[in-house]
Structures are given as structure tokens and as C-alpha cells.
Amino acid sequence: MAEETKRAEDLPREVEMPSPTAWPIVLAAGITLLVAGLATTVWLTVLGACLAAAGTVGWFRHLYPHERLETERVEHEPFKPVTERPEVARRREVIQEGHRARVPVEIYPVSAGIKGGLAGSVAMALLAMLYGVVSHHGIWYPINLLAAVVYARPLLVSSHQISTFHIQLFLVAAAIHVLASLLVGLLYGAVLPMFPRRPILLGGFVAPIVWSGLLHSVLGIINPLLNQRISWGWFVASQIGFGIVAGLVVARQGRIHTRQYLPFAIRAGLEVSGRPQDKDPGEGQQ
């Protein structure tokens, strides 16, 4: 910025600014009266038209042949950049020195989330099928129920049908299961580093129970038929199974340094000209 480098005598003493003018308000009043005449009396329209015409002409003459300007005297008080709050970090363990907080310092790589999600999905599927066996509905029963979230026909057929294998339902359920598991795994990978204390408690118990509670309260409204068939105890159990396994797998992966302060081009691995001198983002402060 220029202020700090220039001395007072180098600064301009006057600045030209557009001069004030009444024509815009005249034109606006004219147009308003012109249309207001439609709902009142035609004479208002006539008055409005006259004002609008005067406003237009006046505005034009304000700009032509030369824009009217007025000079403002510069009463300059140079801006003195001072800071009273230089430091940023609240957590000493995050930032040792300086005034830039860079949190989180370490995150899990994306692959950790994917691995956690896949591992969790296996655990959840096993628990769900165990429920099928224990409840004498058969192992296909929970799979068909999951498919019924988007594909409601099995709920309408007999309870025999819902316990047998259907290839379409299996594919639908597998797709939902893998997709949802991957997304939740990625979410765990992104969120867990932000809770350094007891990630397993949070990811393994708190999140599944909150989610189950939310679903329990609304499923009866969204899909009452499906609601009748859910065994909530087993539902919570399989959710927790997912959470613990996914959380453990994620937490066991190695962490990497964040690179959020690097320019986008460097983070994307692009070779661009004029990039600033490379700084290792992981080494705290430069």
C-alpha cells in the first residue's frame, strides 16, 4: 500500500469527485408518479411524465459535454498500521511461536477414511446378518429391509418374500451400504482429528446413538411400514459396531500435515510460474 511509503507532501491536496445532483431523484419521483397515476388520476401521470422528462434531460446535461465534478480537499491523516492483538493461538501445543494459527496441524489422509468406511461396513453387515439369523428371519431379511429404504415393494409382499434372496434388492442394498459407509468413513477421517480426546467414544458411541435417535424419531412419520419392521436394539448395535471399527481403523492410520496455507496451485500439484518460495507447511512457523 502506498500510504505508508509516501510522505505527506507527496500526497494530493485535492481529489475530483462526481458532484451532487438532484436529477436522479427528480427522475425517480417522475417515474413513480407516472405509474401511480394508473391507480389514482391521469393528472398524476401527466405530472410524472413532465418530471421524468425534466429528470432525463437534466441528467444528460449533467454529463454532457463534460461530467460535472467537484474537488474535495484532502485532509490527510496517514493510516498507522498498529496491531494490539498480534498472537492468534489459544492452544500453545498447536502453535509454538508467532501469530498464525494453522489448525488442524495434522489430518488423516483420504485413504484412511475409505479404509475405515469399508472396514466398518463389513462389521455392520456381519452384525446385521447375525440379527437376521438370531431373529429367525434369515440373513436376507436385513438386506431386503435396507433396499426397502428406496425400493418399497418388498414391504408390500408377504413376510416369506422378504426373507428370501432377490438379486435386484441385493444390488440396491449393497450399493446403499457401500456408498453410505464410504461417506461416513470419509466424514470420520475428516472430523476425528478435530477431537483429539477420545475419538473412539465420539465416533463409536455418541455419533451412532445420536443418529439412531434422530432416525427413530422421524422414521415413523417418513415411512411407517418400514418403521414397524425395525428392531431398534439391533439397529443401534450394528451402528455402534460400524462406529467402533471405522473409528479404530481410521485412528490407526498415520497422520499427515495439513497444507491449507499453501497456494492452491501447489496443493493441486501444478507447475505454475511466480509461485512463492516453497515453505514446508508442516514445520510450524517459518
Binding site: 394508473l38 498500521p81 496491531t83 497456494p263
Partner: protein, 561 residues
């Protein structure tokens, strides 16, 4: 100090003989083309109409406090909710947000004024006169056999309630004309904002170095063209129907009433985002400064805003799930309405990530921003619920919907606005707002807000429809309505404290200095209030936080961006 930026305070502090005559001061403001004065006028004008809209809301809440009340007549009640909605959207929320944009955008991009200063004045006066025209309907809109003075069809103005057969007299015409006139002003403002941001930036300020407030207002300005114009077109059709005997919305001649619904909501839903994006802009400036950290994920914030801008034009029919629409149409709008929650969620996470690990300073502007985060989250979640067509069939047009959008507009936009008032008041007037009064304002307003709007969710789930004049006892609605009405008075108290704080601080607040918050954007590098020319020398920037670079020359931002 600029000679005439604080006319009243200066006038009062001067001896009587040196005061400027008030007529001269008034004249100065009326003919001004200075973006700062126009911005202040926008805000003051919006606050004025906020009083009107607030009184209307209070009257409605008094009427609904107990079952079978007779506080106002059904006709008056219909006028109240119509005028309340129209006023708050068109003549309160938009003018105040535009006023802030008008004031801040040129300062933040290091410009001396808007691209078209005279168009700026014209746009403001069109908006102002539009509001006067709307309220003139109370006097001039007297209809045939008591059919109404002010319009009474709800702010959606669904056909056929607006047809000549059902809307006698001129109240409908005043409503239409007022929105047409103010619409011209709004589009003028949009043109000016986009041109200013694209063409008036100071040296070094590339698009990637603009403060987020400027970016978000650029998106908002661009959206205005495709938001307000459809409304203008639909109003023109309505005028053709009413004045020239056309048949656009005339079902007797083969026209469709649902066409108006579509046209109105093609305006109506993007309009919500036109209002919330400037609120996001305030948060994106205030949260980093009071967390003492740079904004987290700047490029993603910009991308999410642009994404919201585009998706918002594909969600309008979630207001019309209950009309004749094919199921694939419903599925499309459900999908789009759910999808728009994703970029919005990204923004919330980015603000949280900005706060996380920061040295948070809970001054009043930051308090309002934290309030915003909580309430806007809930508003967004009820929005996701309502985006599902089956849910909407149950809850559409119930008080649940009323609660949802008031959570967005009051809990979200208004909270961000209050934060912005406390944050930029020192820049505009040179004086700080009182912190103690500010804390009172915040806590009373939070309590009043939740008392008013939380019970509405429950009343809505219990089946209370919106826009009813009164109700029978025994539905289980009475207690929730009573709490709501009580909450309105708490909110009103908080607003009174706010207004008192504005006036009190303007006259007697502590001197602010140029940079009271130790902030990082260009508006804080000029005096408070800024001189008419903003900057004696046009600044040059190298990063998104030019004042950080000045304050920390050993560790400037441009080494990282």
C-alpha cells in the same frame, strides 16, 4: 475528519451560531451521489420500514395470542400479513443489505465511489418511492364495498385473488406498481454492484484477492438480474390482465392460476438466497477478525457461494409440491432442494473451522455471528425436512413453514445484520456502539427470538395452518401461541434497546479511531468516518488481507496465497 459526514453530531456539538441550517443538511443528503451517504440512507430507510413491519407483526401476534380473539377484524388481519411480508422482504431486508453493500464494497475494493454514482442515487430513490407507494394504498386504495384499503391477498398474491373480479379497488394495483418501481431500483443496484466490483478494483486486487464480502455481493448482484426480472415480468402480466383485460391468469379463458405460482416462486426462492448471501458475507468478514485467523477455505467459500447461486434457480417448485406436478418434477425439485444444503453446509463448516483454534473475542458483533451459526443450522435442517415432498404435503402451509422461514430470516439474516451494525458502526460514525447495551440487546433478542419462533414449529406439527385469523380452543395450539406472543414483546424490548444504543452511541459513544477491531480489510485503513473521496491515494494490495501485510511486514499474507 470529513467535513459533513456526521452532520447531526457535529451540529449538536457546535455552538448555535455555527450550526448548519437543517434544511441545508437535508438538501445535501437528498442530492448526494456519494455511495456512503446513499448506503446510510438505504439503511435508515430500511429501519424505518422495519418499524412498520414490526408493528404489523406485533398486532398479528396479539390477535393470535388466545383462541377466538377479536382484537382485529379478519379483513385487517389479512392486510396485516400481506403488508408484513411485502414490507419485510422488499422494503426492509433488501434495502438494509443493499445499504451495507453500497457502503462497504467501494471501500473494500479501494475505490472512490461506485461505477455509476448517479444511477446509485436513482436506484435508492426508486426503492424508497416504491415503499411509499405501497403504504399509500392504506390511504388511496379504498375499494368498492369495503373490499380493502391495503392489499389483503398474502405476499404471494396468488391468482385469482388478484383478478379484477376478486380484488376490487386499487389496493392490488398499488402493490403491483410499488414492486415494479422498487424492482427497477433493485436491478439498477445490481447493475451498479456488478460493474463496480468488476471494473473499479484497486491495483493488485485480482478476483482471487477480493475480500469475501465483495465476492458474495458480486454473486448476489448477479443473481438480482435473474431474480427480480421474472417478478417484474409477472407483475407486467398481472397489469395486462387488470388494466387491458388480458387472460394470463384468467382460468375462465384457459389461463392457468398455477402459472403465476411458478413465476412468483421463480422470483421467490432465489430471493431468499439474495437475502442470505449478504448475511453470509458479513459472517465471512466478522468471524475471522474476532477469531484472529484468516478465513478457512477461501476458494471453497467462493465456489460454494457460486454453487448456491446457480442451484437456487432450480428449487422454486418446492413451494408448490401440492399443485398438479408430475412425480419426476417433484423428484427433481426434491433433489435440487436437498443439494443446495451441501454448499450451505460447507460454509457453516468453514466458519467453524475459522473459529476453531482461534483466539476468539466475544464482542457483540461476534456474539451475533455465533447466534447466527446456531440458528441458521436449525433453519437449514428444517429446510431439509421440508424439501422432502411427502413431508411437505403434511406440513406445507402450516406454522412449521412459518417457523422455518422466520428462523432463516430473523435467526439468520437479522442476526448477521445486527452483527454487521455493531461491527461497522464505528467506521460509519467514528464512534463505538455501547458494549453493555449490545450484550443486553443480544441476550434479550436471543431469548425473545426462541420464545417466538420455537413454539411455532410445534403448533405447525399440531396442524395449525398459516394465515388464519383465529382458532378454536381445544386444538392444543393455545399455549404455543401465547408463548410466541410473549416472545414478540421480549424481541421488541431488545429492538428498542438497539435503537436507543444506535442513537446514544452516535451522539455520545467512545471515539473509535480508524481501526478499532484490529481488522484486515481496506475500509479500516481510512479515517472513521471516511472522507468523501475514501482514500487520498488509491491503495495497492498484494493479498486478501492488506492490513495484515502492513501490520506484520515480517510475515505477510502474500507469501502464502
Amino acid at each position: 475528519m470529513a467535513p459533513d459526514s456526521m452532520p447531526i453530531a457535529r451540529a449538536l456539538s457546535l455552538p448555535r451560531s455555527e450550526r448548519k441550517p437543517w434544511l441545508e443538511v437535508l438538501h445535501e443528503w437528498v442530492i448526494t451521489v456519494d455511495h456512503k451517504k446513499i448506503g446510510v440512507m438505504y439503511v435508515l430507510y430500511g429501519l424505518l420500514f422495519m418499524v412498520a413491519g414490526g408493528i404489523e407483526a406485533t398486532l398479528m401476534r396479539i390477535q393470535l395470542a388466545v383462541p377466538e380473539a377479536r382484537f382485529v377484524s379478519p379483513q385487517v388481519f389479512n392486510r396485516l400479513f400481506t403488508m408484513h411480508g411485502t414490507t419485510m422482504i422488499f422494503f426492509v431486508a433488501m434495502p438494509i443489505l443493499f445499504g451495507f453493500a453500497n457502503y462497504l464494497v467501494p471501500l473494500m475494493i479501494g475505490a472512490r465511489d461506485m461505477a455509476f454514482p448517479r444511477l446509485n442515487a436513482f436506484s435508492f430513490w426508486m426503492t424508497a418511492f416504491g415503499g411509499l407507494l405501497l403504504y399509500f394504498s392504506y390511504v388511496g386504495g379504498a375499494g368498492v364495498y369495503g373490499a380493502g384499503s391495503a392489499p389483503s391477498f398474502g405476499w404471494w398474491a396468488y391468482a385469482p385473488l388478484t383478478s379484477p373480479a376478486f380484488a376490487r379497488g386499487h389496493s392490488t394495483d398499488f402493490w403491483t406498481l410499488a414492486l415494479l418501481v422498487s424492482g427497477v431500483g433493485t436491478v439498477g443496484f445490481g447493475v451498479n454492484t456488478v460493474a463496480t466490483i468488476l471494473c473499479m478494483r484497486c491495483p493488485g486486487m485480482k478476483l482471487t484477492k477480493m475480500p469475501l464480502l465483495v465476492w458474495l455481493n458480486l454473486v448476489m448482484g448477479g443473481m438480482l438480474f435473474f431474480t427480480i426480472s421474472p417478478l417484474t415480468a409477472a407483475q407486467l402480466m398481472l397489469m395486462i390482465d387488470r388494466y387491458l383485460g388480458g387472460h394470463f391468469f384468467d382460468t375462465q379463458a384457459g389461463g392457468k392460476a398455477t402459472l403465476w405460482m411458478h413465476f412468483f416462486w421463480i422470483f421467490g426462492h432465489p430471493e431468499v438466497y439474495v437475502l442470505i448471501i449478504p448475511a453470509f458475507a458479513f459472517l465471512s468478514e466478522i468471524v475471522p477478525v474476532f477469531s484472529r485467523k484468516a478465513i478457512f477455505g477461501y476458494p471453497i467459500m467462493v465456489a460454494a457461494t457460486v454453487g448456491i447461486g446457480f442451484i437456487s434457480f432450480g428449487v422454486w417448485a418446492h413451494h408448490l409440491y401440492t399443485i398438479d406436478m408430475p412425480s419426476y418434477g417433484q423428484a427433481f425439485f426434491v433433489g435440487m432442494s436437498l443439494a443446495i444444503a451441501v454448499p450451505t453446509g460447507i460454509k457453516i463448516f468453514n466458519w467453524l473451522a475459522t473459529m476453531w483454534g482461534g483466539k476468539i473475542w466475544l464482542a457483540t458483533p461476534m456474539l451475533f455471528c455465533v447466534g447466527f451459526l446456531f440458528q441458521f443450522l436449525i433453519a437449514g435442517l428444517t429446510g431439509v425436512i421440508l424439501a422432502n415432498a411427502p413431508f411437505d404435503w403434511q406440513l406445507g402451509n402450516s406454522y412449521f413453514v412459518v417457523a422455518h422461514f422466520h428462523y432463516v430470516i430473523v435467526g439468520g439474516i437479522l442476526f448477521a445484520l445486527f452483527g454487521a451494525f455493531y461491527y461497522w458502526f464505528p467506521k460509519v460514525t467514528g464512534r463505538m456502539m455501547d458494549e453493555t447495551l449490545g450484550k443486553w440487546h443480544f441476550w434479550l433478542f436471543v431469548i425473545g427470538f426462541h420464545l417466538t419462533f420455537d413454539p411455532m414449529h410445534i403448533a405447525g406439527i399440531l396442524g395449525m395452518p398459516r394465515r388464519i385469523w383465529t382458532y378454536q380452543p381445544g386444538h392444543g395450539w393455545a399455549i404455543w401461541n401465547m408463548i410466541s406472543t410473549f416472545g414478540v414483546f421480549v424481541q421488541a424490548t431488545a429492538i428498542l434497546i438497539f435503537v436507543f444504543n444506535l442513537i446514544h452511541s452516535y451522539l455520545q459513544g467512545a471515539q473509535a479511531g480508524d481501526d478499532p477491531w484490529d481488522a484486515w480489510t481496506l475500509e479500516w485503513s481510512t479515517s472513521s468516518p471516511p472522507p468523501p473521496y475514501n482514500f487520498a491515494v488509491i491503495p495497492e494490495v498484494k493479498s486478501r488481507r492488506p492490513l495484515w501485510d502492513l501490520k506484520h511486514p515480517e510475515d505477510p499474507d502474500w507469501q502464502y496465497e
